[in-house]
Symmetry: C2
Subunit: 181 residues, 2 copies
């Protein structure tokens, strides 16, 4: 997808919370934010340079040990404004979901197709695992069931848990129905 550079805003958003290195940002996509967005380091490092050229962020060097230099990035005032502008803009596009399993399902025409049941059980396992993972994240990040200063993060976890609960239940129903055919 060549959509209008959402990654740029994610980086600004993350830097608005903490100063981070490119590596830290890469890691963020493997945990927290990875629940609902992805990016590789090979995309992140060049973009950090570009954002610095645009003066939305700046960096200072931190030396670790003998010689390893880390670039610790901070958001600038201008960067904060760009971030806030993005947040305040309408978000009128409901992008297509692009779930490969759903795509495949579209091309299964009858309940007796031998490919159907394996597909359903595979997805059931995957979504149940995802659900458990999300529930663990929720328990870990919000142990007292309140959002504190992280309302957004709390809400999207809650939302994702609801989504996966619903997805899993749909698959279970379907598996039952097709079994008893």
């Amino acid at each position: 997808m060549a959509q209008r550079n959402q990654l740029k805003f994610i980086i600004l958003g993350l830097l608005s919370e903490n100063d981070l290195t490119g590596y830290d940002i890469t890691k963020a996509f493997e945990s927290d934010i990875g629940e609902f967005w992805s990016a590789n380091h090979s995309q992140i490092y060049p973009l950090l340079k570009r954002l610095e050229d645009e003066q939305l962020i700046s960096h200072k060097l931190e030396v670790v040990g003998e010689k390893l230099e880390k670039k610790l990035y901070s958001i600038t005032q201008s960067g904060k404004e760009v971030l806030r502008q993005w947040l305040s803009e309408p978000t009128p596009e409901l992008s297509a979901t692009k779930d490969e399993f759903i795509l495949k399902l579209y091309f299964i025409h009858t309940a007796d197709d031998p490919l159907l049941m394996p597909m359903l059980t595979e997805q059931h396992q995957l979504h149940e695992a995802k659900l458990h993972h999300l529930q663990e994240q929720m328990a870990k990040k919000f142990p007292d069931h309140t959002s504190q200063n992280n309302l957004g993060h709390f809400l999207i976890l809650q939302h994702a848990i609801q989504r996966e609960t619903r997805y899993t239940a749909w698959l279970v129903d379907l598996i039952e129905k097709i079994k008893t055919d």
Copy 2:
């Protein structure tokens, strides 16, 4: 996204049901399949050529009126095999959802942020409209509430309706909760 060419399989899948022109395929992404995938004609026409080079599809010319030539594409035996192979492969990747609103929400930290409520009401409208649209589609495509020879299409519509119902309910809850704060 440079994911492993799902569009290729969508085209093969569509052509396995009917012979179609590039224009027909483009239109399919604006209706049916557009609920859960998107593609532009500028991506479709070159890919049709490539798939023909790979001998997965072939075309014959149909002349309409005086001189307009349409290319009506058909799937080949080899194409059918490639499609079936794709369908039978595991689908172990739960791709990140990439919902821009969810992304923005992540960076809203407190319930009293003035940006929050407008975001929620905007999304509520969008998702409610989407839900209605899906319900209409369902009523139109499956008026007798059975899937006939289109199980897959029926199921993904059902799934999408459940998803949007859940999404809308979550937003309504949230709006209520924040209002009475």
